[in-house]
């Protein structure tokens, strides 16, 4: 029993989108789609879940806020351990809330700093993007103007190929993978 990977290449994102819908309706499972730019509605067409990037950002933001808060409290107010609250220009640094007006800017910056950076890191991490990683795209043209659909078919692939052709794939390459 042998498996095949089909690489269907399209010239236009709209045609690709149609064909994706077509195939999905025929319950043909699409392994992956490579495109030079984001295509609207593709994620729905492929039935992806909503990504949770925004939520992570929010969490990181909260983290940043708390970090900033603690930092400021420790340094300017607490007098615990090595912290060293001083009388600076007679500002009332007796309690956090008395001094908060001058803390607002830094609290905000900390929030953004954490949210921004940590989320971006998460993004790279989840996408396994890191300096020196090599591309996974089977065809270099997918970053230029070609749109590539990757499917795995078992047994005969004729009707799939037919389907792809009919939905406008400009070319179809295949690759055998023998498994035990």
């Amino acid at each position: 029993m042998n498996k095949k990977i089909l690489y269907a290449i399209f010239d236009d994102e709209e045609i690709l989108l149609e064909s994706v819908k077509e195939l999905r309706s025929k319950e043909i499972e699409i392994q992956e789609v490579y495109s030079p730019f984001p295509i609207h509605g593709l994620d729905h067409a492929l039935g992806f879940k909503e990504t949770r990037m925004a939520i992570t950002a929010f969490i990181y933001g909260c983290l940043g806020l708390t970090f900033g808060g603690l930092l400021l409290y420790y340094i300017m107010i607490s007098g615990i351990g090595k912290s060293w609250p001083m009388n600076i220009g007679g500002k009332p640094n007796f309690t956090f809330y008395q001094n908060i007006p001058s803390f607002v800017p830094i609290l905000f910056e900390c929030t953004v700093l954490f949210a921004g950076h940590l989320m971006s890191l998460t993004y790279l991490f989840r996408n396994k993007l890191y300096p020196g990683a090599s591309t996974k795209s089977p065809d270099p043209r997918t970053t230029d103007d070609k749109f590539l659909m990757e499917l795995v078919v078992q047994g005969s692939d004729l009707e799939v190929k037919q389907l792809l052709k009919s939905t406008g794939a400009s070319e179809i390459n295949e690759k055998e993978i023998e498994d035990e």
Partner: protein
């Protein structure tokens, strides 16, 4: 007067009931008079007399109070030369015994003399001295380095074992073996070929570098354990420790000035005019002092018109110029022991820097040390106010502004 009667009492009692002797003399030690006496003794006598048996410039004074009459002592101390002139046999005897040098005169007021006498009567059982554990500090230095060495050794051995094992297998398979360098090289290439590895390796390096630079930044200006060679091998152990010379005798300005003061050569000469042989180094080191001030130990006299040479001691505790430190502040006003900062000086043959002398070190102490306010009129009003302010809390130095910048930086 009362005191002297008291001490007489003790004496008689001591003779009568030897069994109680200890207990009573103990009590006497605690008595104010003896404490005063001790002070007087330290500031005036220690440089020539030990309270024990061993003789310095003058005889050891153990049991002198029992040997001599009080009046006799008084006369002798007030002006030994006159006393000798007066023809007192004992006096002359001593004069003869101690190569015809009379003792210098001290004009004590009565109560002071009483105190001194009381002290001589009740010599301390033993001097207790503050000692800090410095071996520990040294160990750490050693430990870390040795650790690293062991680890390195272990790894090397591991490499060797593995390669040899590998070679054994290869031999058995009939492949040509490889030397250790080859292995390492091939392994390295293998490692590098994978981008991921390179990235993580570099990350690791980065972290190490950061850590290192951070440590160095923290460590800048910390010179504890600094122990330079001195031009004269002067031993604090011998002087302060064994002979129990009071720190204040040589470093006299520590109680008056910001500087503890390196004693001027004439202070050394006070004793070394007559002591010209040391315990450890014999005459060699002491000769250096003579050389400096131009003193002829044989004729026991200063050489006229001698071109004196300054002694260039190497400074050990170098506080940066930007911070003001005052010894008298700490010793007198703060009532801090020398050893608190300088460590067990009286155990050091060669002195080293005990404390970090970083700002952190200063400030931490100021955060924890209580202010010696009791019985100091300067503080009376302030003390009440502060008690008001910090109910019950102990009033540490920082509470009276002891960690404010301009207390040390101006």
């Amino acid at each position: 007067m009362m005191r002297s009667i008291y001490s007489y009492l003790i004496l008689t009692l001591a003779i009568l009931f030897t069994s109680f002797n200890v207990a009573f003399s103990q009590e006497a030690v605690d008595s104010l008079a003896v404490q005063q006496g001790k002070e007087i003794f330290k500031t005036n006598c220690v440089s020539c007399h030990s309270i024990g048996k061993n003789a310095l410039i003058g005889p050891g004074l153990e049991g002198v109070a029992n040997k001599r009459k009080k009046e006799w002592l008084k006369k002798w101390i007030n002006s030994s030369s006159d006393f000798i002139a007066s023809g007192d046999p004992d006096a002359i005897a001593i004069y003869e015994e101690w190569n015809k040098v009379a003792m210098t005169s001290f004009y004590f007021e009565d109560e002071d003399f009483e105190a001194l006498y009381a002290y001589l009567k009740n010599p301390p059982i033993q001097e207790d001295i503050v000692s800090a554990d410095l071996t520990l500090a040294e160990d750490q230095g050693v430990r870390t380095s040795t650790k690293l060495m062991f680890i390195a050794l272990f790894l090397l051995m591991l490499v060797y074992l593995l390669t040899s094992l590998k070679n054994k297998l290869k031999e058995s398979l009939g492949q040509e073996t490889e030397t250790i360098p080859d292995t390492l090289l091939s392994q390295f290439n293998l490692f590098v070929s994978e981008n991921r590895n390179v990235v993580f390796a570099s990350f690791a390096c980065l972290i190490v570098v950061l850590k290192f630079s951070f440590d160095t930044m923290i460590g800048v200006g910390v010179y504890s354990q600094y122990q330079p060679e001195q031009p004269i091998a002067f031993s604090h152990k011998v002087h302060a420790g064994e002979n129990g010379v009071d720190c204040n005798y040589c470093h006299s300005s520590a109680r008056k000035s910001k500087h503890s003061g390196i004693p001027s050569a004439n202070v050394c000469m006070n004793c070394h005019t007559y002591i010209n042989e040391g315990k450890i180094t014999g005459t060699t080191e002491i000769a250096k002092i003579y050389d400096a001030v131009g003193f002829d130990p044989n004729t026991r006299s200063y050489i006229e018109g001698y071109e004196q040479k300054p002694i260039k001691w190497v400074r050990i505790h170098n506080l940066p110029d930007l911070s003001y430190f005052n010894h008298s502040q700490h010793v007198v006003a703060g009532k801090i022991e020398c050893q608190t900062c300088h460590g067990p000086i009286e155990e050091m043959d060669v002195v080293y820097q005990h404390a970090e002398l970083t700002m952190g070190w200063c400030v931490d102490c100021h955060r924890t040390t209580e202010v010696a306010m009791e019985g100091n009129e300067y503080y009376t009003e302030l003390h009440d106010q502060l008690k008001e302010k910090y109910k019950g809390e102990k009033i540490t130095v920082d509470k009276i502004g002891g960690i404010e910048c301009a207390k040390c930086h101006y």
